[in-house]
Assembly symmetry: C2
Homo-oligomer: 229 residues x 2
DNA sequence: CGCTGTGTTGACAGGTCTCAATATAAGTGG
DNA sequence: CCACTTATATTGAGACCTGTCAACACAGCG
């Protein structure tokens, strides 16, 4: 398995340090907020959401994770986990205990740095979504999220074009973007009417990525080269 | 200077690695989004905002930083900085180049880990604010932010009680919480009328922290012990 | 085949925004 | 120290976006 931009020997070390692969099915809870956590996860396959539940029953989806993402990083500094990790599809993860994570810091500094940088990329996505939710209309919010996921997939599957398979419900999208599922449905209809996207259960089609990106008001993020030695 | 939970020798190493202290005045821009960045900053004194500007002129304040915070971390993975760092008061920072940051990974692993954990704490605050902005009313949003800042100050000044000196404008608060300054003003008035807070230019008074916390819908975050091992 | 989750649509209510005006405080230059 | 300018705060009226409530259609699944 290729992990970030590490060389083969480092990947081997990494896999050696990880616990066995864990498998989950759709709707399985990988970890629940409010409970103690002693490990993080590297998502190897499938889709996972991380979400927060509020006392009034509202749910905020914090991130929609794809393979390569690190899960549960906030647990490294919290007594009780802040996020619930839910498998959206069949899922495969590597579990990495906090102990191992910090042993990387002592013994495999490039590995530790690679994990830090991956986590930092996820923070950028969080910043962008905060800006989208805080300062843009519902239609722009959806556009931002679709583009973000599209861009992340494109990093590993550049030929994927404008088809965007998204195994999440409209309720999930609404919970990620701070609106009601009813309004989410109307926004999809509106963007469809403007011929900017197509939608069908489980996926979108982005009809004009450039136009969508301008509309979204958020920039395309270019990652810097990694691991300045 | 005490840095995180490092011992004295580590702090000395750290200060040795840093460039000289930099000073800024109110409204000075420490770093601007869209430009290249080759360093992060440790905020040693004063208040700093990190913000994103959207093409339509809207501004999202991503974080309001207090001493001890790391600034510009997203720049470690980006070709162009995503956030503008603005001094809200007179400010003192330590500049740490990305090169030095990664040399910590190779040579001072505990230092690298400490920086990672501090950054992770700031991510938790971001997650909480996303939940607040996405899923709670404007009055609850303001309450969450005030409590977050209150709690962070209380870590170093436990005797501070309910007085909250906040050298930011209502415009800033509105930009941090995804609303208009006009509505921000109304929310303050509303919470004041409910006798939950007092307000005067430059500061709040939290009249009943417990009641405010329940009202905010967000939990109080307890940090885990650091640096396992 | 019924059940449950998901998607879709309509009418209406409500929170927040926009526009406009004024008040107050802070900053600047004489 | 005062007069002027600018930034910040405050208030009102109306519009608009999004939420709420209700009903129904459709799909997947046991």
């Amino acid at each position: 398995m290729q992990i970030f931009n590490l060389d083969e020997a480092e990947c081997t070390r990494f896999e050696h340090a990880c616990g066995p692969r864990l498998l989950f099915g759709r709707h399985d809870i990988i970890h629940e907020e409010g409970k103690q956590s002693d490990s993080i996860y590297l998502l190897a396959g499938g889709w996972v959401t991380s979400s927060m539940l509020l006392p009034d029953g509202e749910r905020q989806i914090v991130s929609i994770h794809l393979p390569g993402d690190l899960l549960g990083m906030s647990g490294t500094v919290l007594a009780l986990a802040a996020e619930t990790l839910t498998a959206v599809t069949a899922v495969e993860v590597f579990r990495i205990s906090h102990i191992d994570l910090f042993s990387f810091y002592r013994e495999h500094s490039r590995l530790a740095a690679a994990l830090f940088l991956q986590d930092q990329k996820q923070s950028v996505a969080l910043i962008d979504r905060l800006a989208a939710v805080g300062r843009t209309s519902s239609a722009r919010r959806l556009t931002s999220l679709l583009l973000n996921i599209h861009d992340r997939i494109a990093l590993t599957q550049p030929d994927n074009g404008a088809i965007l398979e998204l195994p999440v419900t409209q309720v999930d999208l609404a919970d990620a973007l701070g609106m009601t599922p009813i309004h989410m449905n109307r926004v999809i209809k509106e963007l469809k009417a403007a011929n900017l996207i197509d939608y069908s259960r489980g996926g979108f089609r982005l009809n004009d990525v450039q136009k969508l990106r301008t509309f979204s008001l958020l920039p395309n993020r270019n990652w810097a080269e990694h691991l300045p030695t």
